[in-house]
């Protein structure tokens, strides 16, 4: 869909706080509650608003280490990709799996309790994945989400 300036303003407010009500957003933008509600409903129905993300302090929950892995498959081919994808998505500590083009074939976001726990995940779960070749690990120090072109 092609959003107008009002849609973008609504998205911006919701990407800061998705719990804001249509009435509250309407007040911000000088619109009535029903008109705002209809726009939010359309953005949701069209899939532009794809759900919610909770900002959470994972360190307080005992997951102090986030590692991004770049993985290159040793042997490619459609079957290889499917086997790899099925196995990697089943690992509970792997939160994100992206198929990419470039120096690597896949990007993974892995959460671990500490470096020793990460080593266990890497050795027992990642290095044993079907077809896995070269692996590069980078430990996340900090991250920041930006609103994007809203």
């Amino acid at each position: 869909m092609t959003p107008d300036a009002t849609d973008l303003a609504i998205l911006r407010l919701l990407s800061e706080d998705a719990t804001r009500s249509a009435a509250e957003i309407g007040r911000h933008l000088g619109m009535t509650q029903p008109a705002t509600w209809r726009r939010i409903k359309r953005l949701t129905d069209e899939g532009v608003i794809a759900g919610r993300r909770i900002v959470v302090d994972t360190t307080a929950l005992g997951f102090g280490v986030t590692v991004f892995l770049g993985i290159k498959l040793a042997a490619k081919g459609r079957v290889g990709l499917e086997d790899f994808e099925r196995a990697v998505t089943a690992i509970p500590e792997v939160q994100t799996v992206q198929h990419v083009l470039g120096q690597f074939d896949y990007r993974l976001r892995v959460r671990a309790r500490d470096i020793a726990d990460f080593e266990r995940i890497l050795r027992r779960r990642i290095m044993t994945l079907p077809g896995v070749g070269q692996v590069e690990a980078n430990v996340l120090l900090s991250e920041e989400r930006r609103p994007g072109p809203l």
Binding site: M1, S15, T19, R52, A60, L61
Partner: protein
Amino acid sequence: MPDTTDRRILRHLLADPELPNAELAERAGVTPASLWRRLDRLREDGVIGAFEARIDWRKLGYEVQVSLRFTLDKTEPRAFDNFIAAARKVPEVTEIQTFLGSVDMRLSVIARDMAHWQQIYRESILTLPHVQDSDALMLVSTIKDVQELPL
């Protein structure tokens, strides 16, 4: 520090951040009043923060998503600060991450199409300060993307 019940609540909440509170209370085996109190305390303690809407950029016409990885010139003491400040000014940047490893910084950048990507790359990315080396990974598809943790 979150106790066992808090962790149970958070496990269900992270698995499905859109669960209504009544449903979340039932799954976590607590009363709605107790759920409310516990969520309030987790918020006060900073364990949970904002609930943000996830935006599907493809649905807004941004078909290209690139993961750009940089190594910076570490002889410059302010390399990281200057780089991050400049990256924040690029509207198409949706994530800024700092790493320990062979990569120093990573940006997620979105563009409408390859022509738009080329324009952003030339005007806003090649001009970022203190870059020694960079490479790009172009997103083909996202196979998994969850917040769930094995709590």
